[in-house]
């Protein structure tokens, strides 16, 4: 198992039921332990791609493999296993945190995987510790700051001990300190990360490699640094570095 890539996508195409085609043949391979930034303008199909990784969207054409296991949304047993391997952190933590307390929310995923009792307790404590939120275990999510809620959202998927962590705009709406704290946490994790973002400096800070998804295909796949230095490439796909930002 260990030499399988964490994520392998072969020629994936997808159209919504209304006929709107979002993906036109995506190929992507992410090795174990890699941190990859998935860049792309609004409407490029990033979220659609992410929802294929755990079988929320059924593949129409092409294949997706997680650690060598094929994502097949019709196979109930396999999909449960896939969803425990792919931890998706959604953009709005209020969408993700729905249980009355932080601790119960972190327990939700492992509970669905059949973890109970002391083991469940231990895994919740472990995940909250990873994101530095242990003392908030019994608090309701709406009493936390936005940055804290995002960290708890990360904990809710870490509790499932995922093979791959997929984050949708992890830095959005965070103040600079929360942004840095989250970066420190992400760097400390020993897990494959795919990070969907427009925040190019953040991608540069955290990810060695970046891919650009535009118009439903992968148009660039390279070291983050070389992609961000290629102004022409960025410009063609509606991406820009912030004014005054230079790569060091």
């Amino acid at each position: 198992m260990s030499n399988h890539p964490s994520l392998l996508i072969n020629n994936l195409a997808f159209a919504y039921p209304d006929g709107n085609q979002a993906l036109y043949g995506v190929n992507l391979r992410v090795e174990k332990g890699e941190r990859v930034a998935l860049l792309g303008p609004n409407g490029a199909g990033k979220t659609t791609l992410v929802l294929h990784m755990n079988g929320i969207h059924q593949t129409m054409q092409g294949e997706v493999f997680i650690a060598g296991e094929k994502v097949d949304s019709k196979n109930k047993d396999s999909i449960r296993n896939i969803r425990s391997k792919v931890g998706i952190v959604f953009q709005d933590p209020d969408d993700q945190l729905f249980m009355p307390t932080v601790g119960e929310d972190v327990a939700f995923g492992p509970y669905n995987m059949g973890v109970r009792g002391d083991e469940l307790e231990a895994v919740v404590d472990y995940a909250l510790k990873l994101v530095g939120m242990s003392e908030f275990k019994d608090r309701p999510p709406h009493h936390l700051s936005f940055g804290q809620r995002r960290r708890v959202a990360v904990a809710t998927v870490l509790a499932m001990k995922p093979e791959i962590l997929v984050m949708d705009e992890p830095s959005s709406n965070l103040d600079p300190a929360s942004r840095r704290e989250l970066a420190d946490i992400l760097r400390s994790l020993d897990v494959t990360i795919v990070m969907v973002t427009h925040d190019l400096p953040y991608a540069h800070e955290l990810c060695e490699r970046a891919v650009i998804l535009s118009g439903g295909i992968i148009v660039a796949d390279d070291k983050t640094e070389s992609i961000l230095k290629n102004e022409k490439l960025l410009g063609t796909h509606r991406l820009e570095l912030p004014v005054g930002f230079t790569l060091s």
Partner: protein, 238 residues
């Protein structure tokens, strides 16, 4: 009282209310006894009578019609000061006010000594259909999110010079309500997606059941039992 398990408290409150409503209003000394019981348990729960009565004010709109009852109706009439009242109406009105107030007071004691979350847990243990408990707990979680959203929409309206003052503004309010509804609906879909992504298959985690000793039941149920004794006593001597 704070430490009693919530489902025990819910059962106690419900049975107390049951005893109260099944006692006819004509045995009024029994109701004095019930009130004393409520006040005593409130004090035992370290709830000041001021807090208790303040929170019970929620009842006021509901008893409004009960207060009108003696003035309308049919049957025997009698004079009370400047008023000409119907006897049946007065009794029915009094009955609603007295029983309603006792019910509200005991519910206030329950809600003051128990968090909303605990009450839901209690209902779950009392085998209330799981779907109802789940709906209530989602409501509990998102009511703040949605009221914040509503507040932001109100501020955004005001910032563009809109203040709802009269009926001609209802259209704007209605449109905002519709927008809020759509947004909440879409949020519901996103929450569901996030739940599916963590392996949700239609069943929310249960809270682990710890068995409750007899002493807790005994302590909690002593109140409705006492109420029942009062009720029977005054009925036999009434």
């Amino acid at each position: 009282m704070h430490s009693l398990p919530s489902h025990v408290k819910i059962v106690a409150v419900l049975s107390f209310v049951l005893v109260v409503v099944s006692t006819p209003i004509t045995y009024w000394p029994a109701f004095v006894g019930f009130l004393i019981l409520v006040i005593a348990s409130s004090l035992a729960g370290k709830i000041s009578l001021l807090t208790l009565s303040k929170r019970a004010l929620i009842e006021v709109p509901f008893i409004f019609f009960a207060v009108l009852m003696p003035f309308v109706g049919t049957g025997e009439r009698f004079e009370l000061g400047p008023f000409n009242l119907y006897r049946d109406g007065l009794l029915a009105g009094l009955s609603i006010v007295a029983k309603g107030t006792l019910g509200v007071l005991s519910a206030v004691i329950l809600s003051t000594t128990t968090t909303a979350r605990e009450i839901l847990r209690g209902l779950e243990r009392l085998r209330l259909p799981l779907i109802m408990v789940q709906i209530a707990s989602f409501m509990l979680r998102y009511i703040n999110v949605i009221s914040d959203e509503m507040e932001r929409m109100r501020i955004a309206r005001q910032s563009r010079g809109f203040d709802a003052t009269g009926i001609k503004h209802w259209k704007v309010i209605a449109t905002s309500a519709a927008a809020l509804f759509i947004r909440s609906y879409e949020r519901g879909e996103r929450v569901h997606l996030a739940m599916l992504s963590r392996g949700f298959d239609g069943e929310l985690p249960h809270t682990e059941v710890k068995s409750v000793g007899y002493s807790a039941w005994l302590r909690a149920l002593s109140i409705p039992a006492f109420a029942l004794l009062i009720s029977i006593f005054f009925r036999m001597n009434g």
